[in-house]
């Protein structure tokens, strides 16, 4: 197994919901992979911050600033792994619509 870290940086003043938001209506951060050159295993998120915002009665589970999301892979062959990152960002005053972006991870296996 090998691991790949995705580094994310959010604009100052913005946060994304963590992978475990504490409100059923909030959209969690998700990183999913389509198996191909490697078999995706566990996706490991950092420990979320519990932040209190003007708009929330209780702390919100979020990520902000710079953080990394790690995925474990079992390598199969040389190729490219395709992943999807889904996130939904807010500031103190407003939220941006949820987005899903495609991420590509080149895998090179040397025998």
């Amino acid at each position: 197994m090998v691991s790949a870290d995705f580094s994310l940086r959010l604009r100052s003043g913005y946060h994304v919901n963590s992978n475990t938001p504490n409100d059923e209506f909030l959209i969690p951060l998700r990183l999913t992979w389509t198996n191909g050159a490697a078999e995706a295993g566990e996706v490991i998120f950092p420990k979320p911050q519990q932040e209190k915002y003007e708009f929330s009665k209780k702390p919100v589970s979020v990520f902000s600033g710079d953080f990394k999301v790690q995925t474990k892979f079992k390598l199969e062959s040389t190729g490219t792994m395709i992943g999807k990152l889904r996130y939904q960002a807010c500031s103190e005053k407003a939220c941006l619509p949820p987005r899903t972006i495609e991420v590509k991870l080149p895998v090179e296996v040397h025998n």
Binding site: Y14, F55, A94, L96, P97, I101, V103, V109
Partner: protein, 192 residues
């Protein structure tokens, strides 16, 4: 078998992805209603409400309307909802209505339970990108337009603002019409 590196240098910068939308969130909002001469017509639209009834903005002609674009996943939107519930209750008999446009992609399956939970007393419509585009994109939520009785946009708010800002605008627009009507009546009666 060897792998080129144990930790792959895959780097994403969410900030760059947020960039184009962020500028709109930071756009200043208008303090108070614009002068009548500076107002533009609110774009017409037709959407469905929670009962499946077709609703048009035209249906509200002659009323002051607070048109609020929101979503269930939007924390700041949830702060405003109790204010709007109170406004609807307080001013509905004076020619005022709140109209909420949900921008939830998942549709009524997620919106209806939310409406029940929040005890929303005003009409909610299910929005779409087309209507959002008519209103300038609605890239940030909440985005709220206060529309005068003539169907013109008197104020635009992007992001969370204060309850008093909204209420001041609503009252000014409701009273503005009464003043105009009174002036018309006085003129008709030949008095000042």
């Amino acid at each position: 078998m060897a792998f080129t590196t144990r930790t792959l240098p895959a780097v994403l910068f969410a900030a760059a992805l947020l960039g184009s939308s962020c500028s709109k969130t930071e756009r200043p909002t208008h303090a108070g209603p614009k002068p009548a001469s500076a107002r533009k017509a609110a774009p017409a639209f037709t959407l469905k409400d929670a009962e499946g009834k077709t609703v048009s903005l035209e249906d509200y002609k002659g009323k002051v309307v607070l048109l609020n674009f929101w979503a269930t996943w939007c924390g700041p939107c949830k702060i405003e909802i109790p204010w709007f519930v109170a406004f609807e209750q307080k001013y509905k008999d004076k020619g005022f209505s709140v109209v909420g446009v949900s921008m939830d992609e998942e549709g009524w399956n997620i919106v209806k339970p939310f409406l029940a939970e929040e005890k929303i007393n005003y009409r909610i419509l299910l929005g779409n990108d087309s209507v959002g585009t008519l209103y300038g994109g609605v890239d940030s939520l909440p985005t709220t337009f206060v529309i005068d009785r003539e169907g013109n946009i008197a104020a635009t708010h992007i992001g969370l603002v204060s309850k008093s800002d909204y209420e001041d605008e609503i009252v000014q627009l409701l009273e503005g019409k009464r003043t105009a009507v009174s002036a018309d009546a006085r003129a008709a009666n030949g008095s000042n």
